[in-house]
């Protein structure tokens, strides 16, 4: 196993400054939101109570941050006895993805000053899907920080603490697989209660299963990205064995996903909605083409081993999952006459700011802590 080392180089690079500026732009909007309410910065309304922040930052963002989850499934469950050098960097990316999603919930929730109510036993509503999602995500963020914590102690003089943490590590890792399985599926269940306000193209009792499968696929897509990134930027050889395993698993998941998706539509007689030639049917087609593209590429023997196609498949897969989430929460959602939603400039800038903070934190961590494999060991 190769050593994990802080990446050499300055923290304050040009890209870092650009990110810094982007995150500073968000600050006045955030201040405005807290002074004058959600309506002052967002296009949210009584018809569209959830917009960009919930749908991107939380629902999509945490699915994109499933790289750590996907990696854990691969390495610890399917690949016994073989730690992978990219486990920790995938975990770090997920940790920031989820942590920042939790922060953005704080901006979105209207009565944030009593948000802890969810966790007070006399207020908790265990019938609520939202409760399940909130409890799971909060615990998972904690678990990820614990799982990552050895990185802080891997230095001389801290061996004792490190050993203690590591002896409990298998519990954190197991929780790290269990919790996303629970909340990524529940993120789909959230919309079941909306009933016919959600178009028949997306509304189904299988939402939890479809959300779970697509989150795992998005996580695999992110693992492919991360491994390619490390091969290009850290001059490591491409992780051939990992990648070929992934390109074998992904098509199988895609087939299961598409069979449930279309089987359900056919069974309920809703497939005809594809031909309504409106924005919803257009988005449905785009979404599914994005799912089908990686299936075709990865099923082709000669293409699936070329990095270019692998990269395109991973990109398509992640994008497909993202579009599927936007469709289920926004495009397919119709609360009734005269309501429209498109994110405002301020909403977008706050999200951009959050993403920037996320990347900056990632960069700082990989440059100060042992996260990525050392280059010269390659």
């Amino acid at each position: 196993m190769s050593e994990l080392k802080p990446v050499k180089g300055k923290i304050f690079t040009l890209p870092f400054f650009i990110l810094l500026i982007l995150s500073v732009i968000a600050i006045p909007f955030i201040v405005k939101r807290f002074m004058y309410g959600l309506g002052a910065v967002s296009n949210l309304s009584d018809g569209y109570p959830w917009g960009m922040w919930i749908v991107y930052d939380v629902v999509t963002g945490t699915a994109i941050a499933c790289g750590g989850y996907a990696m854990a499934i691969l390495v610890y469950i399917f690949n016994k006895g073989q730690y992978h050098p990219l486990v920790r960097s995938a975990l770090l990316a997920s940790m920031f993805g989820y942590t920042l999603a939790s922060v953005s919930i704080f901006f979105d929730v209207g009565r944030y000053w009593q948000m802890y109510n969810i966790f007070l036993p006399w207020y908790s509503n265990t019938n609520s899907v939202m409760f399940e999602v909130a409890a799971c995500i909060a615990t998972y963020v904690l678990v990820m920080w614990l799982e990552f914590s050895p990185a802080f102690f891997e230095k001389p003089g801290q061996e004792k603490t490190l050993k203690k943490i590591n002896s409990a590590m298998f519990i954190f890792i197991a929780l790290g697989v269990l919790l996303p399985t629970m909340h990524q599926s529940s993120l789909g269940s959230l919309m079941i209660i909306a009933g016919d306000k959600l178009s028949g193209l997306w509304q189904t009792d299988f939402l939890p299963l479809l959300f779970l499968i697509s989150a795992i696929m998005m996580g695999f897509g992110m693992v492919i990205f991360e491994s390619m990134f490390s091969s290009v930027h850290l001059e490591r050889p491409l992780e051939k064995s990992l990648l070929s395993k992934l390109s074998g698993v992904i098509p199988k998941l895609l087939i299961v996903f598409l069979i449930i998706r279309f089987g359900d539509l056919i069974f309920k007689g809703k497939l005809g909605l594809i031909f309504s030639f409106n924005f919803q049917s257009l988005m449905f087609v785009i979404e599914n083409l994005l799912f089908i593209y990686p299936l075709i590429i990865l099923s082709s023997k000669e293409k699936k081993d070329q990095s270019k196609y692998l990269f395109l498949s991973a990109a398509s897969l992640v994008l497909a999952g993202a579009v599927y989430r936007f469709d289920t929460f926004l495009v397919g959602f119709n609360p009734g006459v005269n309501f429209h939603y498109f994110p405002s400039f301020a909403e977008i800038m706050i999200t951009v700011g959050i993403i920037s903070v996320e990347i900056m934190a990632y960069l700082i961590f990989i440059k100060t802590l042992p996260v990525l494999p050392d280059v010269k060991h390659a």
Binding site: F34, M35, Y36, G37, G39, S42, L44, S45, D46, G47, P49, Y76, I77, K80, G81, Q82, V109, G110, R111, Y112, Q114, N117, I118, W122, Y123, S124, N125, N127, S128, V129, M130, F131, E132, F170, I173, A174, L175, V177, L178, T181, S186, S189, L190, M191, I192, I193, A194, G195, D196, K197, D205, P208, F267, K268, G269, F333, G336, V337, N338, F339
Partner: protein, 316 residues
Amino acid sequence: MKVDRRNFLKVLSAGAVTAAVPDNVFARAKKDVPPDAVGILYDSTLCIGCKNCEMACQRYNKLTAQPSDSNNRDFDPYTFALNKIQIYRNGDKTDKESENKYNFFKKACMHCVDPNCVSACPASALTKDEESGIVSWNSDACIGCRYCQVACPYSIPKFEYGAAFPEIIKCEMCQHVQVKGKIPGCCDFCPTGASVFGKFSDILQEAKNRLALPEKSNYNYPVGDLIGKRSKNNPVEKYINYVYGEKEGGGTQYLILSAVPFENLGLPKLPDYSNAAKTEGIQHTLYKGMIAPIVLFAGLAFTTYKTAKAEDEKGE
């Protein structure tokens, strides 16, 4: 679009049947109307669109107008009051109650028997009273996540998007005056008896009695409540033979009668069970006694423990 009454009912029941067969296999049991449930019967054939109910609502609930709060005032029942008179227009608008003319509808919380909003709320801020069945909101509990707005099939709960310290606003059937023995403002001030208050079993019976009345006969419509102190004689319109709310989404305590198709009033077609029953059914099947998660966790912990140990031995 011309929809006659029989077609509408056919569509309505077909919707309910197809929805009921494959769709609610997981649903938990339906809920019953609470024993001392109260309710409101709104008979749109009597409504003259005078908006006395809206004004009474403002007064009873001490509401101030917040017109800037909504980006859709036509649709927003709470711009000024907790109920809202809406107009359905069609054809030449000269003749009330007939298919292609105009009609009024009073939009307000339906006080569902098995409310989606109560099931959805993560902080138990929305609760249904076990006796009266009134669905009310608790400001000390609410976190402002707005899941109730997503979940309500009628898009009833409103949120103060223009406030730094916003609240959820919804009709609570004037329970603060009911405890003093008075009836909800909208019913008390309705001059024609279009909105009447009463025990749920009584208003349901009243609704069914009205459907049985011969068209154009005269009927003494109770005004205010069903006790019968006040009434107004009116000719009977050609009702659609259906009580909206008796079954919709598991039933509601706000019942509606109409002479024009209910969908023209903006009322959704709903299956006869609540989506809350379905969601809770699915969640509780998956998480029953937390058995599945615990088993999964045990399996995962065992596997990772073995993996980690194997790795340690290799490393040493």
